[in-house]
C-alpha cells in the first residue's frame, strides 16, 4: 500500500472524527435548553422544510441575491458528487475512477465545472457586496471582528476550492495531451477545456507535481472546511433543515402561555381551593419565570442561535433598528449563541454544575435593547431559516418583569391600571360603556 493512500485514509478518519466530536458538543449545548414539544404535524413540517430550507423560498424575497445564493447552495450539493470520486480515488490509488462512464462522465464533470464557475462568480459578488459596496446591514456594530472575518473566510475558501477544482482539470487535460502515464484520456470538459494549452510549456514532472498539489489542496481544503463549520456561522448549511422542520407552526402573533404561571392562576380561580392550605412541597428547583440565561431558553431557541448565519435580514426590517434604537434581532441570536458557547466551554472545563457568574441578560443583552421591541414580527417574517428572535426577547422581558420587577415607570403604571381597573389607562371600569352616549 503506498504512502499517499495511508496519508489520505488518516486525513479522512481524523477530520471526520474531529467533526463528529464538535457536532456532538453543539448537540449537547442545544440540549441544555428546556423541553419543548415540536413533534406534531410531521407531514406539514416536512413540506415546510422542503419549501423553506430546500427550496429557499424566503431567500427569494430579495431575488438577485436569492438566486446567487441558490446557485452556491445547488452548486455545493451537486459538486459533492465529484468529491465522492475524489475520495474513492484517494483511497484506492486510482485516477478518475468513474471515467468508464464515457460520455456521461464528460457530461457530469462538465456540469460540475459550470456550477463551480457559477459558484466562484457568486462568491466573488458576495465578497464585493460585503467589502466594496459595503451594504449597511453588514456594517452593524455586531458585525465587526470575528463575524466579519468569518464571512470573508467562508467566501474566500469557496473561491479557492472552486479555483483549485477547475485548475486541476486544466492541468489534467495537459497531462492527457502529452500522454502521461495514469492520466486517463477523458477529453476536454466545458470550462477547463477553454484553457487548453495554458500550461503547455511545463515538463511532465512539473505538471504531475502541479496536478497532485492541486488535488491535495482541494481535498484537504474540503475536509478543513468541514471542520471549520462547527466554529462558524456557516454551520447553517446543516442546521437550516432541522431548524425549519421544528419551526413554530402557530400564528406569528401567538405567544406561549407559560405553564408554570397557568398552574398558579388556575389555583387562584378555583373556588374549591382552600386559601389557607399549606402550599404543596416544591419538587426540585423552583422554576424561573422567563429567561435570564441560555439554559432558561428552549432547545429550539438555542438551535435558532446556532442556525443563524448573520445575514441580518431581521435587523434590516426591524422598526426599532431602522429608527436608530439599540435593538438588533440578529445580535439577540448571536449573543445567545456566543453565551451558549461560553457556557458549553465552562461545562467542558469545570463540569456540569459550573457557574461562571455571568448571564445572557446583562452580560450580553441590555435592557434597553429588549425594551425597544414592538413585537411586530418583521424579524421572524424575514428570517430565511424561520428563526424566532422575538421569542427570546419576550422570555428575557418576562424575567425582567416577573423575577426582578424591573420595568419602565410608565409600564408599571400601565400594569397597575390593568390590575386595578381593567384597562391600561386610569379609567374606571364602570365607565366602559360611556362611549355609547357621547357624540
Amino acid at each position: 500500500m503506498n504512502i499517499s493512500i495511508i496519508a489520505f485514509a488518516v486525513l479522512i478518519l481524523v477530520s471526520l472524527g474531529l467533526f463528529a466530536k464538535n457536532v456532538k458538543t453543539i448537540i449537547r449545548n442545544i440540549n441544555l435548553g428546556k423541553d419543548l414539544d415540536r413533534g406534531d404535524n410531521k407531514g406539514g413540517r416536512f413540506k415546510l422544510m422542503a419549501k423553506v430550507a430546500m427550496g429557499q423560498s424566503k431567500m427569494q424575497a430579495r431575488p438577485v441575491v436569492g438566486i446567487l445564493h441558490f446557485i452556491v447552495y445547488a452548486g455545493f450539493v451537486i459538486i459533492n458528487i465529484e468529491v465522492l470520486e475524489i475520495v474513492l480515488d484517494g483511497l484506492l490509488g486510482t485516477h478518475r475512477l468513474f471515467s468508464p462512464l464515457g460520455s456521461l462522465y464528460t457530461f457530469l464533470i462538465s456540469t460540475f465545472e459550470v456550477l463551480a464557475l457559477l459558484v466562484l462568480v457568486s462568491c466573488v459578488i458576495f465578497l464585493i457586496r460585503r467589502n466594496i459596496i459595503r451594504l449597511k446591514r453588514f456594517l452593524s456594530p455586531e458585525m465587526t471582528g470575528w463575524p466579519k472575518t468569518d464571512a470573508n473566510l467562508i467566501l474566500i475558501t469557496e473561491v479557492l476550492l472552486m479555483t483549485a477544482f477547475l485548475l486541476m482539470n486544466v492541468v489534467d487535460a495537459q497531462l492527457q495531451s502529452i500522454g502521461a502515464e495514469h492520466y486517463t484520456q477523458v477529453g476536454p470538459f466545458a470550462i477547463s477545456g477553454m484553457f487548453e494549452g495554458m500550461f503547455s510549456g511545463l515538463s511532465e514532472s512539473s505538471l504531475v507535481a502541479f496536478e497532485r498539489g492541486l488535488w491535495w489542496f482541494h481535498i484537504i481544503g474540503i475536509f478543513a472546511f468541514l471542520n471549520y463549520l462547527p466554529y462558524s456561522k456557516h454551520f447553517h448549511i446543516l442546521l437550516a433543515f432541522p431548524n425549519v422542520f421544528y419551526s413554530k407552526l402557530t400564528p406569528k402573533g401567538q405567544l406561549t402561555n407559560m405553564e408554570a404561571v397557568k398552574k398558579e392562576v388556575e389555583l387562584m380561580f378555583d373556588p374549591n381551593a382552600d386559601p389557607y392550605a399549606a402550599p404543596p412541597e416544591p419538587v426540585g428547583e423552583p422554576e424561573r419565570f422567563g429567561a435570564k440565561d441560555v439554559q432558561d431558553l428552549t432547545w429550539k431557541q438555542l438551535m435558532d442561535a446556532y442556525t443563524c448565519t448573520e445575514c441580518g435580514r431581521c435587523t434590516d426590517v426591524c422598526p426599532a433598528n431602522i429608527t436608530g434604537k439599540e435593538l438588533s434581532p440578529r445580535k439577540i441570536l448571536m449573543d445567545t449563541r456566543d453565551r451558549l458557547e461560553e457556557v458549553g466551554k465552562g461545562i467542558d472545563k469545570n463540569g456540569k454544575d459550573h457557574d461562571d457568574g455571568k448571564s445572557l441578560l446583562g452580560d450580553y443583552i441590555k435592557e434597553e435593547e429588549l425594551l425597544a421591541c414592538t413585537s411586530c414580527n418583521a424579524c421572524t417574517e424575514a428570517c430565511p431559516v424561520n428563526n424566532d428572535p422575538l421569542s427570546v426577547i419576550v422570555d428575557l422581558r418576562r424575567y425582567l418583569i416577573m423575577e426582578e420587577s424591573k420595568a419602565p415607570a410608565e409600564w408599571t403604571g400601565m400594569l397597575t391600571n390593568i390590575e386595578n381597573n381593567g384597562a391600561p389607562w386610569q379609567f374606571a371600569q364602570a365607565d366602559r360603556l360611556k362611549w355609547k352616549d357621547e357624540e
Partner: protein
C-alpha cells in the same frame, strides 16, 4: 344624532336572549377619544345591517395583551381567566372586535386557557356582511380618493389577514395605493409590544414618523387602518408632518359608515 342600539350581555340574559355575536370593544375603543369614534361607527353599521349583537359593557376587561407583551405573564393570565369566566358564563361562541391586539389574543392565546371562540376582526366581519348582501357600500364621498392601507402588525403578519381590509377599500370605489413596505413586509407603526404605553427608547427617529413618511410617499388623500393604536400613531405622525388638512387618517369602519351616510 341617532340613538345607538347597544345591548349588553346582562340585558340580553335578563330578557332570555342570546346574541349572534359579541362585539368586544377593547380598552382603546372604550376610553380613547379617537378610538371611540371607530367604536360608534362600527355600531352604526351593525345597527343598520340589523345584526343581533351585544357588548359586555362594564363586564369587559383588558384582554391582557399589553401585560403579556411587556413580559407580565401573571397579569395576562389573571386577565384572561377572568374574561374567559365571563365569556363562558354567557356561552359566547362568536366574537368580533375592532382591535387587532384583542383579536390576536382572544383568537390565539385564550383557547389554551379554556376560552375557545370564533374570533373575527371587524374588517373580516364587514367583508362578510357585504358578501352576504346584508350591507351595501357605494363609494360616495370616497369615490376616486387615493387611499393607502397601513397593515396593523397584529392583523397582518401576526394573523395573515391582508385581503379583507383591501377589499373594503376597493368597495368604496377608491384608488388603493400601496406603500413600499406593505402586507407581510409592512412596517410597524411603533405602538406594538406595549410601546404604546411608554416613551420610545433612545434612537434617532420615531417609528411612526418613519411610517408616516412612507405613507406620504404614496401621495394619499387618506391613510386607512384597522387598529386603534395604529390610528393614534399615524394621526400623530400626520400632525407632526403638518399635513392634517390634506391627509386624513380613518379606520375602515369609519369609511364604510360614512359612505353609508351613517
Amino acid at each position: 344624532m341617532s340613538e345607538l342600539k347597544v345591548p349588553t350581555m346582562a340585558e340580553m340574559m335578563a330578557s332570555g336572549q342570546q346574541p349572534d355575536v359579541l362585539f368586544w370593544v377593547g380598552c382603546a375603543g372604550s376610553f380613547d377619544d379617537r378610538a371611540k369614534k371607530i367604536t360608534r361607527a362600527f355600531v352604526k353599521i351593525l345597527n343598520k345591517a340589523g345584526i343581533n349583537f351585544a357588548v359586555l359593557g362594564t363586564e369587559e376587561s383588558c384582554t391582557g395583551d399589553p401585560a403579556k407583551r411587556a413580559g407580565n405573564e401573571f397579569l395576562f393570565q389573571m386577565q384572561a381567566m377572568g374574561n374567559i369566566q365571563v365569556l363562558n358564563a354567557y356561552e359566547i361562541k362568536k366574537i368580533v372586535t375592532t382591535c387587532p391586539h384583542c383579536f390576536n389574543t382572544l383568537k390565539n392565546e385564550y383557547p389554551e386557557l379554556g376560552g375557545d371562540y370564533q374570533v373575527k376582526h371587524h374588517s373580516q366581519f364587514l367583508q362578510e356582511l357585504i358578501n352576504e348582501g346584508k350591507l351595501t357600500v357605494e363609494g360616495g364621498t370616497f369615490k376616486g380618493k387615493k387611499i393607502t392601507f397601513h397593515d396593523p402588525c397584529y392583523l397582518g403578519r401576526a394573523n395573515d389577514v391582508y385581503e379583507a381590509p383591501r377589499e373594503l377599500v376597493e368597495k368604496l370605489d377608491a384608488e388603493l395605493v400601496e406603500m413600499k413596505r406593505c402586507k407581510s413586509k409592512g412596517l410597524c407603526c411603533g405602538a406594538g409590544g406595549a410601546q404604546m404605553f411608554k416613551e420610545a427608547e433612545k434612537g434617532d427617529k420615531e417609528v411612526n414618523i418613519e411610517r408616516t413618511e412612507e405613507a406620504m410617499e404614496t401621495k394619499p388623500d387618506i391613510i386607512a387602518t384597522g387598529c386603534p393604536f395604529c390610528m393614534t400613531m399615524m394621526t400623530d405622525g400626520v400632525k407632526i408632518k403638518e399635513k392634517e388638512t390634506e391627509v386624513k387618517v380613518y379606520d375602515l369602519a369609519e369609511m364604510i359608515a360614512e359612505a353609508n351616510d351613517l
